[in-house]
């Protein structure tokens, strides 16, 4: 037996025993690559996800909502930071990770390629989009890679808070004027299906699931999480007095779950492929921020260097 195989067995044994893998531990190359792909994608999603909400910052309808929204988006930037750091423990720099996003090589969650068109979208995004994200993330708090799992614990706490805030926005609207209620229903109509798509393709179509489950990077299948999300959300929808845009939705007593209609996977793949109404705009915004910030980063680096050499001169 080659030592390589020993490493691999030891690694899997640790995973099976729920012992966290740490940056300096040996890990299979494919594990590392899968993690880099997944964590960086998650980090990019936090950063790109700032844009649809940022779209309403300057138009928030009250000072309190403006402040809460700003704090929420700031949290997302913070999540981005944790995750870029977790990624760096796997041997890829933040700059490289970001360049992969800007070049289109790395992906981010497709949900952010939908436009935010009304104030109610700030409610729907918090409630449904963050809600769907949490379904995934709660499981990831126990993921096998230590730094990722620990980042997730911090993120999950804040995300639940965001979700409650989002739901509260929906609550106020759905109890408000006719126009406000209509706004809330419209937002639900537009975000419901995209939120369901956030869990990814159905298990039969999903390629990476099996290996990821074995490595405990992933702990539930896409369809399991999707069902869980629907089951949790429908009572919330009912409480708001709104309806989901799915005529096939109904409680299945036998399964103990809600049955739901066919997801439009053609739309899903279209948006993933770059055809969402905002794909171009999102990447453009990120590219412009990066390019227009280049002189600032260069200045900071040059200043740090000057300072270091001045200190050295003094020491010498």
């Amino acid at each position: 037996m080659s030592p390589q195989i020993n490493f691999e067995e030891q690694f899997q044994a640790k995973v099976d025993a729920e012992i966290k893998i740490e940056p300096k531990d040996w890990m299979p190359d494919a594990y590392r690559k899968t993690l880099i792909r997944q964590i960086s994608q998650h980090a990019h999603s936090e950063i790109v996800g700032m844009l649809p909400e940022g779209n309403w910052l300057t138009r928030a309808p009250s000072l309190k909502r403006k402040a809460t929204l700003l704090a929420k988006i700031q949290d997302e930037a913070g999540h981005g930071l944790y995750l870029y750091s977790a990624c760096e423990t796997l041997g890829i720099t933040r700059l490289q990770t970001i360049e992969d996003l800007l070049s289109g090589k790395a992906k981010y969650s497709s949900i952010f390629n939908y436009p935010s068109l009304s104030w109610a979208d700030m409610g729907a995004i918090g409630w449904l989009v963050d809600g769907a994200a949490i379904m995934n993330q709660v499981a990831l708090c126990r993921t096998s890679y230590g730094p990722y799992a620990r980042a997730m614990v911090r993120i999950c706490k804040e995300e639940s808070f965001h979700q409650r805030q989002g739901y509260e926005i929906m609550m106020v609207l759905s109890k408000g004027s006719a126009a406000q209620k209509e706004m809330a229903q419209d937002a639900l109509n537009r975000w419901w299906w995209p939120a369901l798509m956030m869990f990814g393709p159905t298990d039969s179509e999903s390629s990476n699931t099996e290996q990821s489950m074995k490595w405990k990077i992933k702990r539930h299948t896409n369809d399991e999480l999707r069902q869980k999300f629907i089951d949790a959300s429908i009572p919330q929808v009912n409480y708001l007095g709104l309806t989901v845009p799915d005529k096939d939705l109904k409680w299945n007593e036998e399964r103990g779950h809600y049955d739901f209609g066919e997801i439009d996977w053609e739309e899903f793949w279209n948006v993933v492929k770059g055809n969402g109404i905002c794909n171009k705009a999102r990447l453009k915004a990120r590219r412009e921020a990066h390019e227009q910030g280049a002189w600032v980063r260069e200045a900071a680096a040059a200043y740090a260097e000057k300072r270091a050499s001045r200190v050295n001169e003094k020491v010498a």
């Binding site: 309808p61 402040a67 930071l81 126009a179 002189w295």
Partner: protein, 259 residues
Amino acid sequence: MNITLPSKNRTAMCDYVLQMADSNLILAQRLCEWCGHGPILEQDIALSNIGLDLLGATRSLYQYAAQLQNENKTEDDLAFLRGERDFRNFLICELPKGDFGFTVVRQFLFEAYQLLLLEALQQSSDTHLAAIAEKSHKEALYHYKWSAEWVIRLGDGTEESKRRVQESIDDIWTYTGEFFIATEWEQELIAAGAIPDFRTFANAWKEKVAEVFNEATLTMPPADVFMQKGGKNGVHTEHLGFLLAEMQYMQRQFPGEEW
């Protein structure tokens, strides 16, 4: 709420508090435009932090102004239902955000003034305003430190960053004169001892600024630069109208709703 209202100069004090609130709000609105577009993730977060502090102060100040007014208005009425000519913010706050250097310089010049003002305001006979000033002063210390560090970093960074930040200074300088001139109602309040005589802050402010510019290898504009004014009397640049149209749209479109 059981607070001490100044027995006289009430209208003047209300105008003054509105002026402070407006300046905070308009500047916060400009900082909001950076969210998601900063040059470095950490600085994106820092700008949001400052924006959040300013919004917090805005809310306290409008709430207090509404009490002084005693016309049953809310903080949101004051923020979203007043017209351009009613806004009393310093002109410097409404200037478009420009590049990161412009934003940093504007913040630095503003906070250097705020530090002096808020420190003195803590001694105000108006205890409510003094309490707001005390909280804001702590925050302003952080904003000042952050912006001063960036002025130094950009001034003493690359040739390009020095050129950019110097241009921003030269563009913004003309809007700093407003800090040190008093409107009629401010003169009334100063005479009554209700607010500090901020006209006397000019030298201390310049020294504070010069110290940082010096370390940043930047040049302070000459003393005879013409100074713009008007903001505190509601005569603004052409930028404010567009900012308000965007900021107030929801409240104008759906008057009287809860959000």
